[in-house]
Amino acid sequence: MRTLLTGAVIAGVFVLGAIVSFFWTPHDVEAINIAAKLLTPGDGYWFGTDHFGRDIFSMILVGARVSIAVAIVAVGIGMGIGIPLGLTAAARKGSLLDEVIMRGNDLIFAFPALLIAIMITAVFGPSAVNAIIAIGIFNIPVFARLVRGAALGLWTRDFILSARVSGKGAVRISLEHILPNLMSLLIVQGTIQFSLGILAEAGLSYVGLGVQPPTPSWGRMLAESQTMISFAPHLALFPGLAIVLTVLGLNLMGDGLRDMLDPRIRRVRA
């Protein structure tokens, strides 16, 4: 319970920051002010400024928005496609359809999100949407496998047999009996994939496959700070800490939720 609370508070701070950034930031994140470049943290600029004189704190607030949005949509894609696939595969266990779905999942697993992003970017050019799609695709087999595995266990239970004796079909059983019993598992895994999504987005933006300038993103800020790290380490410090804290908060939340919702379920960390 304490873990859950700590995690929720940390992650909550960043979500709040992201929301606040829509209405207010201390400075305009796109305004270039060479006179105020590379200031160390202090008055007026809490986390200092970058080589264009932009306010780091403001950029981190807006960056939170980007990271969270990318990760949420990517989890949504993964769940939206992965859960129905997993439920279908489990309901038709051993059939050709099951085989096709599972082989397809194996295939997607052979393409790490980075490679998908590379391919999309090579063809369509860089954009934040690439990151969303790449991470989203990567999430599909995670949820499909998780759901199939857990659903198979449920399908052998007598209460499912009972429902079949009452004349209920596979779709109805999947929605009425299987899915509700997977909720805690999905909430926990969703939290984990959310945190992995934030890490992946940062990585992709860092190598230029994700969010494009001038939109601030934590990964890009780190990429830009790299050449200046020897004389302006604060440029690398704050975005990095933002990523670590957000991911840490989400992971703690995931652990706490797991302990609270069901101590028996095992976490699958992909």
Binding site: L115, T121, G203, V207, L222, A236, V244, V247
Partner: protein, 315 residues
């Protein structure tokens, strides 16, 4: 065991074929006319036509796929459009950095994670365990490329133990090469080791709750003996899964981290190729990495069978 290996081998072959079709389709069919794409908007129709002929794009997609696929099998990856050199040569040069880096990191991660995970499991609930759990929780949350930047700041810029980047080449000696890869490998390995150590710990603790551990204890084995003699090998099964998955993460991570250390690996190559719209190079690198992931998955499957006698007899 033979049946098992053969069945796995068939599925390996099938995965490779399907993966190659997907990659070919994504990078040669989706963009429409690759020649026009690579030359950009301002190219004259004649230049585009010349490149089309040069790349063999006049043939249909199916024919082109088979030419490409048979080329891959014989080590002919085509000619880079930007550099006018065989892609195979360029990749061969770069893979000498990326592959050792990924393997180095995998070895480090495993060597760190196993003892730490076992140590935490044997001290379950005590201060040692709590310390490991807290440290690994943090380790999981750290992005490896940021960790790499911190390592550079401390060990290269601050302490000057390592150079901040670059690769002297293996010609400079094995030791020099490994030294250049050490900081990147540590940066890659520690976050992965955190995950692996946690998996190792929880797999061990799960196994320690199994009935056969109680049987072993009833024979007179102490808790520690039961853990080493009976739980460890059983716990390896979930751990192997994670090690297999980690390899693909490490490959991807290696590509990203090459940027931090200015290493001349596949990552640098592929990002240059993207900015130069050199689809042939991108295609080859992606294919190569996918092959690596699929082959590692295959090896993990074989390792399962080596650990678990129940799998050996299944087809």
């Amino acid at each position: 065991m033979l049946h098992f290996a053969l069945a796995r081998l068939t599925s390996l072959g099938l995965s490779l074929v399907v993966a190659s079709v997907v990659i070919f389709f994504a990078l040669e069919v989706v963009p429409g006319d690759p020649a026009a794409y690579m030359l950009g908007m301002n190219a004259s129709p004649e230049t585009v036509a010349a490149l089309r002929t040069e790349l063999g794009l006049d043939a249909g997609p199916v024919e082109r796929y088979f030419t490409w696929a048979t080329g891959l099998l014989t080590g002919d990856f085509g000619i880079s459009y930007t550099y006018r050199t065989p892609v195979a040569e360029m990749i061969g040069e770069r893979i000498k950095v990326s592959l050792p880096l990924a393997l180095y990191a995998l070895a480090l991660s495993t060597l760190i994670a196993f003892p730490v995970g076992i140590w935490a499991a044997t001290h379950r609930g005590k201060a040692q365990d709590m310390g490991v759990m807290a440290a690994t929780q943090l380790g999981i949350a750290v992005p490896n490329f940021w960790f790499a930047m911190l390592l550079v700041l401390v060990f290269a810029i601050g302490l000057r133990w390592f150079s901040a980047g670059g690769f002297p080449g293996w010609d400079a000696g094995f030791f020099e090469g490994m030294k250049a890869l050490t900081l990147p490998a540590i940066a890659l390995a520690l976050p992965q080791a955190s995950i692996l150590a946690r998996v190792m710990r929880s797999a061990l603790l799960d196994t320690m709750g199994e009935d056969f551990i109680r049987t072993a204890r009833a024979k007179g084995l102490s808790r520690r003996q039961a853990l080493w003699r009976h739980a460890l090998r059983n716990a390896l099964i979930p751990v192997l899964t994670i090690i297999g998955l980690q390899f693909s993460f490490l490959l991807a991570g290696a590509i990203i981290i090459e940027n931090v250390f200015f290493l001349p690996g596949l990552g640098r190559l592929v990002f240059q190729a993207i900015s130069q719209r050199d689809l042939i190079v991108v295609e080859s690198v992606v294919m190569l990495l996918v092959v690596a992931v699929i082959v590692v998955t295959f090896c993990v499957d074989l390792a399962y069978a080596a650990v678990d006698p129940r799998l050996r007899r299944r087809g």
